[in-house]
Amino acid sequence: MQKSFMSLAVLLMVFSSTAHALSWRGNVTVQERLFFKDPEDSRQHGNNLSVAAQPEMYHEWADGKQNISFIPFVRLDQGDDERTHADIRELAWSYIARDYEWTVGLSKVYWGVTESQHLVDIINQTDLIEDFDGEEKLGQPMAKLALIRDWGTVDLFVLPGFRERTFSGVKGRPRIIARVEKDLTSYESSQQDKHVDLAARWSHAIGDMDIGLSWFHGTSRDPILSPTQYNGEIVLQPFYQIIDQAGLDMQLTRGSWLWKLEAISLNGNYEKYQRATGGFEYTFYGLAGSAADLGLVTEYLYDSRGELATTPFEDDIMLGFRLTLNDEQSTDALLGVIKDTHDDSYLISLEASRRLGDSLKLSIQASKFLVDGLDQSLKSFAKDDLLQLELGYYF
């Protein structure tokens, strides 16, 4: 499938290069990850260099009513063969009419409002090996129809084909200590990764409230991982069940306050649970007479499975400070702490970025895991404290 998309992409590029209104942009980034402790598994790599490129091609015609976008992505990684990977983030055609829009192809959509985790955002699979914050996504084959009405927008999706979540390889860091073995991947559906999923979402802005209600039926993006013996080692076997998931996301924007809530209810033959994230963001504008803003983010993370949850965030509190300098170089920083309310496990992270000149951007990301408790899912990360430096060239 990837191959045929690739040749289609080449065709499109040839076609588009002869037409007008073709635009290019993209970036090339160099990334160095520094680790400060010996890994839990001696096969895991130490400090690690990698490079990535993501060009974006966009072409529109018919007075902007039709367009094609093409966004390939590739990363070459020094230490982890799994992280050396390529993907087509987007290769989609869109048709825009007065009260509806079609998108057909590989594409990406984003649902949700909260900062600490993204619960309702289910259409695209997470490219977890790219970034363990879960914000990088794989391109998803879809036919999407958006109906635009006075009472909101209804998005209807048919999603043929499933993308497996990416995980760090044997040498990769950070990773869960029993690594995930993708050769063992199994599915509830007999159609395996060919199951056609369906989804719908209604979203609307009513005064100072933005609200979304969503429903999904199909292959869960979040695999159930079970330990198993494989070639003489214990690995995790991913199993993708068929689920129904209902989601709610809402944000109330009032003065300096943003009140946010995301909640999902997942129903499958193997698991049934509810998860929620809610909280607020309050911003102090013009800090101490300067142009800088300081935002305070607090969110509570709930999972009805409690300590049995497959995620580390089952009854946790996230506290974040977002500093935005509002300067020419668009300097900003986000310091976040997630704490388990039952024990003394912390995840501390810092993200900062600043533009250098016109087309370079420097980003720093640091994370530290403090684990002192029962939370096994966090424990395996405890030796993978890292500092990531990234320099990107944008064009």
Binding site: R25, E135, T253, G286, D293, Q329, R355, D358, S359
Partner: protein, 260 residues
Amino acid sequence: MKKILLLALLSLFITPSAWALSAEEKGLKIAQKADELDTGWGDQMQTLEMILRNKQGKESSRQIRGRSLEVIGDGDKSMSIFDTPADVKGTAFLSFTHVNKPDDQWLYLPALKRVKRIASKNKSGPFMGSEFAFEDMSSQEVDKYTYKWLRDEKLDGKDVYVIERVPVDKHSGYTRQIVWGDKVIDHPVKVEFYDRKNSLLKTLVFIGYKQYLDKFWRPDQMHMVNHQNGKSTLLKFSDYSFNNGLTDRDFDRNSLKRAR
């Protein structure tokens, strides 16, 4: 008929102040007239180069495409799409300006494909690191200020009126603004901004007004100088176009996601 004339005459004596407008009434009248003359443009598109100059004279530039939709009875809708710097290319900003309540604002982040509703309380914050605040860039509605006519005078050989206007919104970064308005075209040629401590913060000068569709005057450039930090920002407008047939649909969250 005679009766009406009599009544009218009578009323002249009863309310003599109707003839001598107060400075406040005169200021408001001027603002209303300017607003009225600039009504009926429907929709507008333009490109904008923003040149930021720091204290040392070092310059950096950003390209922004803008479009706006006139909304009768409320503030206008507008969308700005950033073309440079390259790392924010494709970022788009959607704003519904309101007269009597806070504006609605959304930001589109292309890397995540995420539409974020943002707080609009931050009126006094800088727009894209420039010397223009968000409130300087948003649509200027009559009801956003109270007015006071100060004097008529000549500025660079032009007949101007000088008006003081005070922002109604308590979150504004200004205590007051002094506006020099060209009497012929009824548009501002210079504005002085006074900060919350009532000291002179910035001066904005409008350069090269041209008339479009035989009616609407738009400047080629706007130059903002910040007297307190020594920085300045020059806005260079080009490719103004009107009546492009834009509708509400071009200013919704779906179109924000498509902004390129």
